[in-house]
Each structure stands twice: as structure tokens, then as C-alpha cells.
Amino acid sequence: MKKYTYVIIGGSIAAVAAIEGIRSEDKKGDILVIGEEPCRAYGRPLISYYLLGETDLARMDYRPETFYEENGVALRLGVRAEKIDPAKKTVTLADGEKIDYEKLLVATGSRPFDPPMEGIESVKERFRFMTKADALALDKALSPEKRVLIMGAGLIGLKCFEGIASRVKSVAIADLAGRILPSILDETGATMVQRTLEEHGATFYLSDSVSRFEGGTARLKSGKSLDFDILVTAIGVRPNTELIKEAGGEVNRGIAVDECGRTSLPDIFAAGDCAESFDVASGTKKVLALLPNASMQGRVAGANMAGGKAKLENALPFNSIGFFGTHVMTAGVYEGEIYREKTERTYKALFTKDDLLKGFILINLPERAGIYLKLLKEHIPLSKVDFEALKTSPAWSAFSPEARERNFAREI
């Protein structure tokens, strides 16, 4: 039986960050990555840019080709890990091989989740939009005479639309929610972004869903029907928690971990879209299925696997996403008092409560947005900064001279 000091199940962003975290503490211990996808880590959100022609397979690689070799990482790609035995400290692969670990990271990510849909088996060209393989398959199916139906007006569905808009005849997008991007935008913001998407050819069917598929026809709950050639489902995702659950570990919506990335099982860590985080904006534990969070969780878990003392603090939901040049940045929770600024092209909403910035929405106002995120992440009391000035323009002049000295006149 092969034995590794560090075994990582999953080969995506959290795994890469964990490798870097491990190597920040331990330059020698051997590392094995077991990845179900048959390729090295790539920027998963880049799949829409691939369809758009703004990147290519080589540039999508998340790290240089030499990364794994330089870090002494062995790869077992294209094989699924089936079982963890926490007592014997082994991982069993789908091909029957057993691997011993000293420290294990579960970074299994999430998978698309489609609710049962009547007649779905009658749809000939059906795709999802999570992986490179999904994008390559969809890429082959696209052609200028085809009509596409995307189910789901969330981040994944709409980025898919951006990727394919100019490559097909038409795109219809349906969602049960009454507005697009319901998880990150309010009504005003959603209306603005929807207009941009409509200008690029999207037809929306909101507060509506498919009640039945009949081959290339979708019968909607509203009574409308839609003819299409290609169906993309982007309805929701579920964390891949089964390995930990079956091994007897604590699982809520995601795998339960502490701020060091430890699961309830000894020497087993979890990071990325499969694991929970403590969201400082809402004060609750939740799955923050976002790439930067996966990276930060992976880094912390890796460092702790190798004996370090890292903690993930200040986790919170934030997104920066563009559609046809319209940039949307959001963070935190939308509660408390609202400060709003709106023009034809831009929108700003700042949500404040208890002397804190709790959340924000910025459309086409990217410049220096990180200053708002800093206020939010670090729980900076608004009475300690010139918030009146910050409302209109994020700037360091609104902070104290001492804060500026610490940040601009010292190493940071």
C-alpha cells in the first residue's frame, strides 16, 4: 500500500492552495492529489471565457505546468476516491487501490443539482456548466442556427449566457425567482443587469419554470411554451460531503470545519465548496461556494495539516462578476439602512447597521471597491472613519493618519 504524508482528495483550487499552505510549513513531506477530473487545476469560472474566446485551455491552467513537480506533488487524476477509513487512515479509490495518509484534506467541491423534471429524458442536447468538460461538450454543440434554453438565472447560468450569446441563434433563460441573480442583487441592481443581458439577446422567463419537457419543447408553468435545441441546466449546486458523512464525520449543509479547516474526524481537514465557513457578515456558518474562499480555506487547511497555526477569519460572501462590460461587485448581507446612488449606468447601495458596513452592491463602480470590502471584513466602526466621505468615494483619506502610517509607511 502506498503511503503519503499528505493526501488531498480533489484537484481544484482548494487543493492547489493547500499544497501552497503545506509547503509554507513543510518543504519535504510527500503529497498526493487524487482528482476525479482528468486534468490539472484550472480556473473553473474561466469556462465561460473559454466559450467567449477570451482565454484558451493553456491559459486556463491555474498554476504553471511545473507547479506540481516543483512542490513534490504526485497526481492521481481521472480517478474517484470512494471511501475514507478514518480509523485505519486510508482512502480507497474507485479502481480498488488503497492509500495510506497521515493527514487528509477533503476538497471535493460541489456538483450541479437539478430537481426532478418531467420529460427531461426526452431532451436530446442537454448540458451542465460546471467543469471544463462541460464547456468543451457545450462548445461542440453550439452553432448559429441553434436555440438555447438556460434554466437558472444565477451566476452560472448568466455567465454561460455571456459565453454563448454571440454563437447561437437565440437564448432563453428561465428562473423560478422573480429577478436575476437573486442571491447577490436587489431589485434595482437586478433590473439594470437584466437590461444589459437583454440588449445582448437574452429573453427572460422569470417567476416561471418548466413543468414538462417534450423533446425540444419546454412547457412552462405559466402556460407558455418554448422551443429549443440545446438545454443548459444551471439551477443549483450541492456540496460533495458524502465521503465525510459516510466516514462518520459531522456534516451540515457542507462539511463542518473549525476555523483551522479541521473536520470532526482526526487528521482530516476539509476546504472549498464542500465545506462550511463562518460568514462574518451574517454571523452564521454556511457554504461560501466562491473561488477566493476555496483558496483561502485551502491555504489555511494546508498550513495546519503541516503543523502550522493558521486560521480563517473574515470569511464572507463576495462576488465580482462582469457581463458584457457591466461589472457587478457585491458583498455581505443586505440589511440595515441603505445609502443609494444611481445613474443610467451605475448603481451603488451601501447597507449599514450598528455602526458597521454590512453589505454593498456596486454596478459599474469598480474603482477602489476593496476599501468597502475592508470595512466590511474587518468590522471597522464607521464612527472611526469619515464615512460621509467614503459613501461617495472610497479612499484612504477617510481613515486615520495612524492607519495610513501603518499601511503605507510600513511593510504590510
Binding site: T55, S320, A331, P366, I371, L373
Partner: protein, 148 residues
Amino acid sequence: MKRIYVNEKWCLGCHLCEYQCAYANSGIADMVRALKGKAIHPRVRVEDAGDVHFAVNCRHCTDPVCVQSCISGALTKGKDGIVRIDRQKCVGCFTCVLVCPYGAVLPSPEGHAAMKCQLCTDNTMGEPNCVKHCPNGAIVYEVREAAQ
């Protein structure tokens, strides 16, 4: 490593560093041709607030949140400590712009990528051109220690 530090009390708010930055990164040898009649998009930005003036550019953080947050692997911190952006890999999602607490990673004017200070290692200047031309020593390029 040597980084750019701000001596805030010496800053006149003249914005010369911004012009020197735009020139350094223009790829044009003649400064007048590089800047005259053009909107500049410098990677260093001067803040003016009443009597307070200071220049902001990338801090080249020891633990850079922009690198950790990059969705494409375009941002890296080199062995020399410099945080660089590979504009060929960047898809312009601006996650780095959203996470930089200094507001020092900026959208490129053409919109398809982010841009940031790389301490003039990505042009022909050899050393930070903003520092070299600051008339009052308000920005310096040297080794300092973190605040206690």
C-alpha cells in the same frame, strides 16, 4: 524587499508621480508624445483631501489577498516579493479590484484586464519611476519593517 513607502507629510499633491507612472508604462520613449493630449491611467494614484495628500500604489503585501483571490491564476507573488499580473491570463473579472484593501489594483482602461504597479520591473525604467521623479521625497523605495 524594497518597496515603495509614503512619507505623507512631504507630499505636495502635485500628481507628478501619476504622470511619471503613465509615461514609464507607455512604452513610448518621448514623454511629450507619451502623455500630451491623452487621458492617463497611472497605477499610482494620489489622494487629495484638504491639506492631506499621499500617493497610493500596490503595497506588494507579504500575504497578498489579490493573489489568493484571483480566479485565473494571473496574479502571482514572485520569489523577489513582487506581486505581478499576467495580463494574458487575466480575464478582467476584477475580483482583485474588489479584494485589494488599498484600492491599488485597478481596471485597465480597455476593461479586459486589471493592472497594478510592478515596481517598474515590467518596463524599461529599471526602478520605480514615480519615486525617482518625486520632487519632495514623499514616496521612497527602500526596505522598512512592519508596524509592531
